[in-house]
Amino acid sequence: MFFLPTLAVEVILPFRAVLVLDLMGLFFLIWVLNLVRHNRLYVGYGVIFIAAILGTMVTLSVPQLLLGVTHLVGAIFPASALTLLALCFIVLMLLYVLSQLTLVSNRLAVLIQELAIERSRESAYATSRTNKRKDENSLR
């Protein structure tokens, strides 16, 4: 138990790796902002990505924070901790996106149903009026 912090300090991410990852984060951040700006990504989803990217960049840039996260998830190496967190994020996002997709699909289905019902009611009304007129004409 006692050797864990020492080992983690020894295997902390090198400066070059942090720099590359931060640059990648910056690229994703600009991409997400651009998507939101051009209305190609809903601002609510954009916020989730921006928070995740900024959180990752800060964690990578502050060694003590990275160590803290590594210990928190019970990993020995910071890279393993980051991979685990990334996997969790992907699963959560996938579930969230699929739930949103289901929600939109349900709304669309309800709209299609309502439209079909309204049109059929109009057609039923028109048919009944035509039949009534025919009956009246035949009585005359």
Binding site: A109, I112, Q113, A116, I117, R119, S120, T127
Partner: protein
Amino acid sequence: MSSTPPRVLVAVPAYNEEATIDKVVSRVRESMPDFDLLVVNDGSRDNTRRILENLGVVTATHLCNLGYARAIQTAIKYALACDYDTLITLDADGQHHPEQVLALYAESVSSGWDVLIGSRYVGSKDYSHSPLGRRVGMQLFSLLVKLASGQRIYDTSSGLKVMRRNVFEPLAQSLFVDFHAEAIVYLIRLGYRVGEFPITAAERMHGQSMYSLLSHFKYPLKTSLLVLLGLIEANLRRRRN
């Protein structure tokens, strides 16, 4: 005392049924002239829509295919909106004999069933004449319904049903993927009376069944999950009420 006769709607969900829809519509019109007819055209890509227009039948057309359950739900919502007392659903593939529907309806009225299912198996209680896949499926779903609701239903996937007005609302609110075992369990657990009445059904002659090869594996799993969810939802709803 009001002497107004009950308003009955016959709903036929149809998806790509150009080969049979005209015969089904004319047979329904001939055998049940006092009942209103609604065909739910579930986004058919063949000539079903044009045939229905020529027949002059009231049609609720889905702009795209939403599936069998949504088509039935549209019929229920329509019945609710137009104040019908009873809804009868039957398949558009010509498997059901509209002539038997009157007997089914009469039994539903006289015995006070909330939902009466036209059952292919309740008479003989024997599945041996069905193809292997259907036989196994029917027995499995029948067992599932028995376990979940305490009531044995022999034909859980029959498309021929008579529903009374009081079940329209619970059925219109929930989404049932196939409107079969899960809907039956849900209604029984809510305290509605669900029964079966023996009918005969012909084999499908035209068009495609909604069950593909993949769905033979997916459908039982999906239905089992939905039965469980239906059970939970019914218990929660009963507690809320």
